[in-house]
Every structure is written in structure tokens, then in C-alpha cells.
């Protein structure tokens, strides 16, 4: 066997062991990564192998199965996305102009941030809704599969060195005040306004294995679906479709779309927006 054939063989073995690892995680911990896109997972698993000093995926599997704290650490590698407050400011501008006027017609409003990671978007939406006079009658559900991320999301504490970016995003997103109206500095970070907290509900929820828990008027799920394969994308969008009221809104990431899902015909894309859909 020549060297490149050996590398091809090694790659096939890596992918086989990766499948086994995901199966093992599912059986032991009920976290289902079996329908995640493979190429990104490979990179993350290679990083985790380095961190835990494992030469093969199987060695990592051994540790994941027998040391729950290794699984807890792995979960960070498998799920964490670093986001920004008001990431893609035009999305938030469009929420203000296209979605908020409709939300204002409801006596009470429910919003679901699916895959909230460290919560930057949850707090961004709370600020936007507060500025629009809607937060008082709104409940934001924020869900994720990673308990550590949910804890950070709920804390609403972000490093000081990210605040300049958050502030410029906030202004570009059509903020009517200054982002500093909504946080105070503490140690080397900022803490978002705790008064917003009573309008948020944080929940451990998996788009891969759980069902719908509430009827909502807006689902915001950005840059989560790209980590899923097409069957899992279909499942997740199916949950959103089921959760949304008639004519409810679905916001996706700037490079996500419903085009390749089985739910495309159930939604209209709002003209001129960056991936804001409305359920038919």
C-alpha cells in the first residue's frame, strides 16, 4: 500500500470510529450528534483528541464513556458557537421593520431562540423588544443542549474586549439608544440588565430528540441548521413549523435557507429580508 492509500484508509477508519463515538454518546448520554454534518465534527473531534491526549477516536470514546467529566468537556467542543450581540445587524433591522409591527398586534408574545449557545442573541432580542415597547408582554424561550452554555446565557456576562463590536453592531442594527444603557461593567466583563431576565426562560432542549413545548410567534434559529445534515434540518424546521402560530415568523442565519428542506412550501420568505420567513 502506498502512502496516500494508507492515508485514505486511515481517514475511512477515522470516520468509522467517529460514527461509533457518536453512537456511544447517544446510548450513554442521550445526546444525539449522529445527524450532524461530518466535516466540522471531524475538526472538533481532532481538537478534542489533542486536548485529552488521545491518539485515536476510539481512545477518546473510551474516556467519554468512562469519565462523565470528559463528556461534559466534549460537549463544549461539539456544540459551542461563538456569536456576537446583534450579529448581522441587518437581521435585527429587518426584525424591527417587518416583524415587530405584527408582533405588536398580539396581546402577548412568545419568542423562541433555538440553539442559543452563550445567549448573545437572546439578550440582543430582549433589548430590541424593550426599545419597541414589547418586552413587558413578551416571553423569550432560549434553548440549547449544552447546560454550560445555558448557564452562561442566563448569566448574560460577556468579556469587555467584545463590547466594542457589540456596540457597533447594536448601532448598525438600528438601536435607538446606546448599548451601554443596558449593561454595567463588572471586573473584566459587562453584565446585561438583570431586569430583562424575568422575560427569559432557559431550557435544555434538543432539536434532534425533543418535541415542541409551546406555541410561539417568532423563532430565531441562526447558524444552527448549518451544523445539521438534511434529515436533521428537516426535523428541526418541522418543530419550528409546528411551534409557530399561523403567519408566525422564522429567522435563519444569513446563509441558511429552507430551499433544500421539505418544508419550503410551508413558508414564504419575506421579500427583501435576509432570511426571515413567514409560516403560510
Amino acid at each position: 500500500m502506498n502512502d496516500s492509500a494508507k492515508d485514505g484508509q486511515a481517514a475511512r477508519e477515522f470516520d468509522q470510529e467517529l460514527k461509533l463515538l457518536l453512537e456511544a454518546i447517544y446510548l450513554r448520554y442521550q445526546h444525539d450528534f449522529r445527524h450532524y454534518a461530518v466535516a466540522s465534527l471531524r475538526r472538533r473531534i481532532v481538537q478534542a483528541m489533542g486536548l485529552y491526549g488521545c491518539a485515536t477516536v476510539s481512545q477518546l470514546q473510551d474516556r467519554v464513556l468512562h469519565e462523565p467529566e470528559v463528556f461534559a468537556g466534549m460537549l463544549q467542543y461539539l456544540t459551542i458557537q461563538v456569536s456576537e450581540m446583534f450579529r448581522d445587524p441587518e437581521y435585527f433591522r429587518e426584525l424591527r421593520s417587518e416583524v415587530v409591527p405584527v408582533l405588536k398586534t398580539y396581546p402577548s408574545v412568545k419568542v423562541w431562540v433555538a440553539g442559543c449557545s452563550n445567549g448573545e442573541e437572546v439578550w440582543s432580542l430582549a433589548i430590541l423588544l424593550a426599545e419597541e415597547g414589547l418586552l413587558a408582554r413578551t416571553l423569550i424561550y432560549a434553548s440549547d443542549i449544552n447546560p454550560e452554555a445555558l448557564r452562561r446565557a442566563e448569566a448574560g456576562v460577556y468579556p469587555l474586549d467584545r463590547v466594542a463590536l457589540f456596540s457597533s453592531n447594536y448601532l448598525a442594527a438600528g438601536g435607538t439608544g446606546s448599548l451601554s444603557d443596558y449593561y454595567h461593567a463588572a471586573y473584566d466583563g459587562v453584565v446585561l440588565d438583570r431586569r430583562f431576565r424575568q422575560h427569559m426562560l432557559f431550557a435544555d432542549h434538543s432539536l434532534a430528540t425533543d418535541t415542541v413545548f409551546s406555541e410561539v410567534h417568532l423563532v430565531s434559529c441562526r447558524n444552527v441548521l448549518i451544523y445539521f445534515d438534511r434529515p436533521l434540518q428537516d426535523r428541526a424546521v418541522g418543530l419550528f413549523r409546528e411551534a409557530l402560530v399561523r403567519r408566525g415568523f422564522l429567522g435563519l442565519g444569513s446563509r441558511e435557507s429552507l430551499r433544500l428542506t421539505s418544508h419550503q412550501s410551508a413558508f414564504d420568505e419575506i421579500a427583501g429580508t435576509h432570511r426571515i420567513y413567514r409560516k403560510c
Binding site: 496516500s4 485514505g8 454534518a37 466535516a39 471531524r42 472538533r44 458557537q81 445534515d229 438534511r230
Partner: protein, 196 residues
């Protein structure tokens, strides 16, 4: 004549002109899919596809998540996202942390493409002022794929091709003009896009 199932290209500083020159050389009958990662300033991002399309006889599109990779199409990585090739030869996007300070990163795309196409892949590193692409090109060569690198002497920014040659070596080191001529001669097997 070289025959591959896909061509991946990475370029950075000075890359729009360099990539444009290669694409301009592709004949309209060219069937091999081309996947491009180009580092850009945020302000120039939205113009990339039309600028390249204007110079290319083949359709140029931004790669979309989960889209099957089609013969004869030139794909460009969307700004702000890593672009990866899945084993079933569809695209996947990610917002994982930047690699080599870059997102999209050439290394990330090249490595996933090397997995997907193995020896049926040609990787090309062009002008640039950083070292992104060197690891990815090494991965392509490990899997038996081919590596072409722009001659650093002829590059607007020589650091990236020089880093690629130092890290990965190259099957060919070419001026842009010579590379454009060689690229037009790359053929795809009539069996289809997919690796078997």
C-alpha cells in the same frame, strides 16, 4: 493530461485578479467543479461573485449549505463562513472560530475536500500574505491529490505560496499565465463528479 474530479483554489491578498485570470482561461465546455476560498475585506464581499462571473465562461455561484456540488460550476465560499465539503459531495457551512485568523479558511476547505475527493483532487494556492492553505495543501498531497502553487516570484503577495511550498511541496510551481494554460487542459473523467 491531468484528470481530476474537482479543483480547489485558495487565494488571499491580490487574489481576485489572480483567480479571475485562471477562471478566464476555463473553456465553456469545462466540466470539473471548482471551489474557491478567497479572503476579502468585508467591504468587497458582496461583489466577488459578479466580478468573477464576468470573467468566466462557466457559471459562478456562492456555495450554499447542503447543496450538491455540480459539474461545470465554479463555487465561491460565502464571506464570514467556513466552507466544507461533506463525504456525500455536498457543501456544509460553519461559523467555527477563524483558522489562521481567516473565515473562510483555505485550510478548512482544503482538508475537507481532501477527505471527500482523495487522489481525485487538484489543490491550487495563489498569491497571499499569510500562511493559510499550507496545511490544507499538505492534506491534499497526503491523500494523493495534486498540488499546484503560484510561483512566489510572480505573486502580488509571495508569503502564502511560499508557505505552501515550504509546508506541502508542490507538483508544479507555475506563473499565473502558465497555470491558466495548464488548468484549461485539466479534464474530468466521464464517470461523473462523485468519487467512487
Amino acid at each position: 493530461m491531468l484528470s481530476v474530479d474537482a479543483i480547489v483554489i485558495g487565494a488571499s491578498s491580490g487574489g481576485v485578479d489572480a483567480v479571475g485570470m485562471l477562471l478566464a482561461a476555463l473553456p465553456s465546455r469545462f466540466r470539473t467543479p471548482v471551489v474557491i476560498v478567497l479572503h476579502l475585506l468585508a467591504t468587497a464581499e458582496s461583489l466577488l461573485v459578479p466580478v468573477l462571473a464576468a470573467r468566466c465562461a462557466r457559471p459562478v455561484r456562492e456555495a450554499a449549505d447542503k447543496e450538491p456540488i455540480e459539474a461545470g460550476v465554479v463555487y465561491v465560499a460565502p464571506p464570514g463562513y467556513h466552507l466544507l465539503v461533506e463525504p456525500d459531495l455536498t457543501f456544509a457551512l460553519s461559523i467555527d472560530a477563524p483558522v489562521n485568523f481567516c473565515r473562510p479558511s483555505i485550510d478548512v476547505m482544503f482538508e475537507s475536500a481532501a477527505y471527500a475527493w482523495r487522489e481525485r483532487l487538484l489543490g491550487i494556492v495563489l498569491t497571499g500574505a499569510n500562511a493559510d492553505g499550507a496545511e490544507g495543501l499538505a492534506a491534499i498531497r497526503r491523500f494523493g491529490g495534486r498540488a499546484w502553487v503560484q510561483d512566489p516570484e510572480s505573486a502580488v503577495a509571495p508569503a502564502m505560496p511560499a508557505a505552501a511550498i515550504a509546508r506541502a511541496g508542490a507538483d508544479r510551481v507555475l506563473s499565473l499565465e502558465a497555470m491558466a494554460a495548464a488548468l484549461a487542459g485539466v479534464e474530468q473523467e466521464p464517470t461523473g463528479v462523485g468519487a467512487t
